[in-house]
Symmetry: C2
Subunit: 275 residues, 2 copies
């Protein structure tokens, strides 16, 4: 799927919602724990009840690895199940290593598991990111400005030569490594006011925006500063949707929360002439 395909999906579903499958086995409803693969059962029910409202799903690897090889089985079954639906898939893995090692990670997520995209950490530079860009019709989602407090430790340090913040250097340099059809960026919703400056550097790239909901980011603010002519935004909500209820009605409650966000997104798309 290229950026045009993403935009068409957004227009069709009148949504730019990504649902984060942070499916912590310690937090899923207790009655599922009797099942053979509780995490997959949980994901399946969430997906069944939200796939018309969301354009993308993003399992965060941490919550699968913590169950060891069983967790990887849950992940394998989840991505296989997601393939049945018209959705963009993101492996939220935040990987990055020297070239030959990054190539292995890329193969894992983009070929073996066949995700559409994988999140990558920029610290190790170009040769740690490039191997992920070598897969046709696949995407790198590069960390730029994250939604957590720790973003202020390093991401805002200002380079003495260019005068740019470190995350702006990440944007400026890395946009040369790929293009608007295989590279997008993580920009936290908690930093929505920064989106204007970011759009000045990368007007046409898609942004994956976490932090709406549990982390406190505002959808209106994100849209105000971040929309472009192809929408250009994929806004993620994880806990706010998947853990909307811890009881047997979890999937219906997830549908309710996703529905609220989809409706807000539909209004935003309409107001901006994008649908």
């Amino acid at each position: 799927m290229n950026s045009q395909g993403l935009f068409q999906l957004i227009q069709k579903k009148r949504s730019f919602l990504c649902i984060g499958l942070d499916s912590d086995i310690g937090k899923i409803p207790k009655h599922l724990l009797e099942k053979d693969d509780p995490v997959f059962e949980f994901n399946k029910r969430i997906i069944d009840n939200t796939h018309e409202l969301a354009i993308a799903y993003k399992p965060n690897l941490a919550f699968y690895e913590s169950n060891g090889s069983k967790g990887w089985k849950s992940l394998e079954k989840t991505i296989e199940y997601l393939k049945k639906f018209e959705v963009f898939t993101i492996a939220d893995a935040k990987r990055g290593d020297i070239g030959n090692t990054s190539a292995q990670y890329a193969k894992t997520f983009l070929e073996n598991l066949d995700f559409d995209s994988v999140t990558v950490a920029p610290y190790m530079g170009e040769d740690s990111v490039k191997p992920f860009l070598a897969f046709e019709n696949k995407w790198v989602v590069l960390l730029a400005l994250t939604s957590n407090k720790g973003a202020f430790n390093f991401q805002f340090l200002k380079d003495s030569k260019s005068g740019k913040a470190f995350f702006e250097e990440v944007l400026t340099q890395s946009r040369q490594w790929g293009n608007t059809d295989n590279l997008m960026y993580v920009v936290g919703a908690t930093q929505a006011e920064m989106l204007g400056g970011i759009r000045a550097i990368i007007p046409d790239h898609f942004l994956l925006v976490p932090g709406v909901g549990a982390q406190g980011g505002s959808l209106q603010e994100v849209a105000k500063y971040g929309l472009n002519k192809q929408c250009g935004l994929i806004v993620n909500s994880s806990r706010g949707i998947i853990f909307a209820s811890g009881e047997k009605d979890f999937a219906e409650k997830a549908n309710g929360q996703a529905s609220l966000l989809q409706q807000q997104m539909e209004s935003i798309l309409r107001e901006n002439g994008l649908i």
Copy 2:
């Protein structure tokens, strides 16, 4: 194991060698592929033939994840096997995420798999690293200056306020988050001349030094600039040892290569009055 324990292990084995178990199933000797778990069989033979020469082993997660849930089984068996020996274990995972997610990664590697340490990427700052430091007798190995070419993209950008390079900011800020008994740093051997400046910032921390061997770093240079009063160095070699031969004699050849490095290390330790 604290830093004193690490130093005692170094003195006992007269070595500061770490062996990187980058056990790529595409590169291990063909005759092992008939086995039930070729990667574990490979690791077991490597460990059996080198554990007297090495103080640490470092499986790189990329090479296990690329085999999916089977790869995680190989990793689980490898760490269990490593526990039989007096060695320090490093999960080379380069993880890092927002706090609640980092806590899951930390649990995976330091509790479930029970590694002694895990490598962590610094880009997301303090709250992405701290959850890894919450485990008693366990270590964070934080990326500072990496051994690849891409290190020059961002790690050397100079902060306009402090005048420090970005990797020096990582060292300066992060040394406050932990201490010399739970925090060490990755510093690439290909940047050995930088070790003097690094030692000025963190004189007492252990450094994990990759890049000797296949990547071209020099052990003598690393020792010259990096040694401290507890040795303070763990030098890693991966491909140069484990793939010294692609034939049935791979484990003996690995022993030969590890032995050469151990002998050089013994000389260095002796010359510097550390044994």
